[in-house]
């Protein structure tokens, strides 16, 4: 039975003396409540709209409507989740107190290390904020990013209350575009790194585990791929193949940047293979797959995570670079890269457009790097002082 005050986000934690946690939870909750109130009518509207659509009424239901629905549901869901979380975590906490003191696990140590580093925390905050923005785009952006206003009278307006960052030459609200741009940039960063890490891990694992000619073959190939300047390789592939959907770009970037991870994983495996616990597992007759998945991979996770985080930043930069060459995400979709590309012509007059998008990129990448560094310092005992 969980007492009522535990269900109150933050309050429970406060009473248990988890001040920071409590404040954060409460803050988040407040944020979503405010959002909910601010957009109450939108949420309600989109729910009604959907309902009527489902009931087969003759109404126009566009993908944007869907976007709104999803976001509305997201907000509601978050409210519920936060309440549940605070309740349950409080209970776990209480139970833990009754039980005998258990030695804290590796991750909680890491977390303490991590908290000690303000920069790292800043990184986390930035990244979380960004993902929040990305999820809440329709509620944060005042306009549809591809919706063009009066192209003659409303083009290239200076910043104002209506248009925080003014409008571009299609009379589109630049602020909205920057907000929606976060989706693309984060998507690109996340997915292509995902691809890279997956491939890299598999290849690296094979090389490191089997060794012998397989290894030398793979590693030579990796060396070779590494000696191509990635950007040049990518522009070729993209320039040579006709389609340029965001998915292609993500895939290509992913396919071109797995080598680093492969090296890393191989190195890890080589070390770990010789460790006692592996020898032991072998001695106990563990099969290869078991050895790899139960012993080697989990133990190589740390460096993989770190490099992945640091990689996301570079990937976002890569996408930006491609956009600068006009090979990035195609118009009218907004990505930070192509906003800069699109508005660099306004550099002399409406400088704030390229500036804002550029800053968005910088901040994001900084965020990821801070996070990565923080993780490394926390996870890598060598660097602890």
């Amino acid at each position: 039975m969980i007492p009522l005050h535990d269900w109150m986000p933050g309050w429970g934690h406060w009473r248990l003396g988890q001040r920071l946690k409590g404040t954060v939870v409460a803050g988040l909750f407040a944020l979503f409540v405010l959002l909910g109130l601010w957009h109450a009518r939108t949420i309600w509207g989109s729910l009604l709209h959907t309902a009527s659509k489902l009931s087969g009424a003759e109404v126009v239901y566009t993908s944007r409507d869907l976007d709104f629905l999803v976001t509305s549901l997201f907000v509601v869901a978050m409210l519920v989740l936060i309440v549940l979380f605070s309740g349950l975590s409080c209970r776990r906490r209480r139970q833990a107190e009754h039980l005998a003191k258990v030695p804290e696990g590796q991750w909680s140590i890491v977390w303490r290390q991590f908290q000690r580093n303000p920069l790292a925390v800043a990184g986390v905050v930035i990244i979380l904020a960004l993902y929040l923005v990305a999820f809440l785009c329709p509620f944060i952006a005042p306009y549809d990013p591809i919706d063009q206003g009066d192209r003659v009278r409303e083009r290239l307006l200076p910043p104002s209350a209506q248009h925080l960052l003014g409008t571009d030459r299609f009379a589109r609200d630049v602020f909205s575009r920057v907000v929606y741009g976060s989706r693309i940039s984060l998507l690109v960063g996340f997915l292509s790194v995902g691809i890279a890490v997956t491939i890299g891990t598999i290849v690296g694992a094979m090389a490191g585990f089997y060794g012998g000619w397989i290894e030398s073959l793979i590693m030579r190939f990796v060396d070779m791929m590494l000696s191509f300047p990635v950007l040049i390789l990518i522009i070729t592939v993209i320039a040579l193949w006709r389609e340029q959907s965001i998915w292609i770009i993500i895939t290509v970037i992913g396919l071109m940047s797995w080598m680093g991870v492969a090296r890393l994983v191989r190195a890890q495996f080589l070390v770990l293979k010789e460790r006692e616990f592996c020898q032991a597992a072998r001695a106990l007759g563990a099969g290869n797959s078991r050895l790899i998945f139960r012993h080697l991979l989990p133990n190589s996770l740390t460096p993989i995570i770190i490099s992945a985080t640091l990689r996301v930043g570079n990937t976002i930069l890569l996408e930006a670079a491609l956009s600068y060459l006009g090979l990035g995400v195609q118009p009218p979709t907004a990505s930070w890269g192509n906003i800069v590309y699109d508005t660099k012509g306004n550099l002399f007059t409406e400088w704030w457009m390229p500036l804002s998008a550029g800053l968005a990129i910088v901040i994001t990448v900084v965020g990821y790097n801070l996070l990565g560094d923080g993780l490394r310092d926390a996870l890598d005992p060598r660097l602890r002082e």
């Binding site: 239901y61 566009t62 003659v152 299609f170 006009g326 118009p331 009218p332 012509g345 002399f348 007059t349």
Partner: protein, 569 residues
Amino acid sequence: MPRIARITLFIFLLAVPSCSSPSTSTDSPDAPGQRLIVKEITPDRGRSEERNLEYEAQWDEFDATPHDPGDALVVGLIADADSLNPLTLETKNAHDILDLLTLSLTHINPDYSSAPSLAQSWEFSEGHLELTFHLRDDVYWHDGVKTTAHDVCFTLRMQQAPTTGYPNIKDKQYIKECIVVDDFTARFTFDQAYPYQLFDVVDGHIVPKHILEAVPDGEMVTAAFNRNPIGNGPYRFKEWKAQQYIEITANEDFFAGRPPLDRILFKVVPDQENLVIQLRSGQIDFMERVPPRFYEELSREEDLVAHIHPSRSYTYIGWNLRDPRFQSLKVRQALTMAINRQEIIDSLLLEFGDISKGPILPIIWAYNPNLTDFSYDPEQARQYLAEEGWKDTDGDGWLDKDGQKFSFSLKTNKGNQIREDITVMVQDMLKEVGIEVRPNILEWTILVNDSTKKEFEAIMLGWSVNLKIDMTTLWHSDSISDKYNFISYSNPEFDRLNDQAVMERDEEKARQMWWQAQEMIVKDQPYTFLFTDKQINFIHKRFQSVQMETEGWHYNLPHWWVPQDQQKY
């Protein structure tokens, strides 16, 4: 200008087409300290074979009067030239530079009539099957060798040889042969008389026989001459640093006298913004085809003078007539009516352009002023589409017909900001009537590939209208198998008319036929004709007697000069 040069120009170099603002006032070209010069349309006399002595007088007069020599002109180019060999070059930049290096038989006046250049005079024989040129005897190649009729005939031979890969080989197809009468007389013969015989002959630059005859058959494309040419024009080639600059210097012993400017440097800067920066800060003196969005910015610069003139090109969206959806006339008309062309011009060309109604531009003699126009009318468009069975039955905001959503990809080439912008605007406009447009911006080679294979639904390109009026390549059903009629437009009636018109030598009769032809095409709307733009050029104010023409910004460059006290370099 060779057609291909125009077209490649349009696709490669026209990062942004430019245009002239009617709103800005125009005073007389000679007013001192005047910052804006707008060229109005000069009537096109390209078809006629008479000489225009007015222009010739101007030239002679200039050559007679002395001007301060010295100083240099730095021209900013967005892309490097490809070759300075008249037989192989394909980019407009290369062509412009070559005009200064090498002479043609004649040079083109602003009204497209021919004026003496390498040839002092020319005349047709009875029956109009022979055309004889009398060459100057004081023209030297820059290596000192005299230019003679042998060079002239050699040039034609090379142009006609398929293995040379001369881009405008078709312009030479009706010319039978070239006979060297004597060192300074060349005679061209024809199988039949037709309009533009003169044009076909004089088109292209003369090449030095004594150098190029050494090049083995088929190796012309890669001949060393491509990158260090020897000409016979007012300027001589000095240096070409790839991706950096091309330098040409005044030809001291040019027959018409040494041109005033010592040196002309073509500086390659592949970035639009960078070019503008350099123009503002005086790192370059001249920039052609300035994107309209920079016009206001630059017109504020005290040191710059804007030259604006109409272009010979128009931009359009072509509908693939093999696609059942676009086979319906009503749909095509609806599409045109759903696109607000005036708004495109107002917001992208900033009024530096006009709606183009048909395939022939106002500056051309055959232009039909009273064509029916499908002006912006989304209501009408929706109705037409509905009549053709396109309705939004599933209420997703998009039109559909037997379960098929009306959605097509609009392909255009990369590197042309305005066109990329148009796709974005058209997408938004057609959304209004419930049609989804998927912009697809492709590399030039890939786009060309698709169009040739007719793998597209809608395509946006621009044509630069040739001096010769001949609609065969674009509209004739025979050309469907060929490359340029990729929309597969076929109209037997039109074909017949076109074939007659091409061969009709009587200007009045021809005009009537072309008027009809235009009406047919406009009625069919195989294209949605978007606009014809005007070209903005900015040049530093120290340069005098600058006159820029549709035919080329460098029309009278050999005359440009800078007063001693203002000379910079």
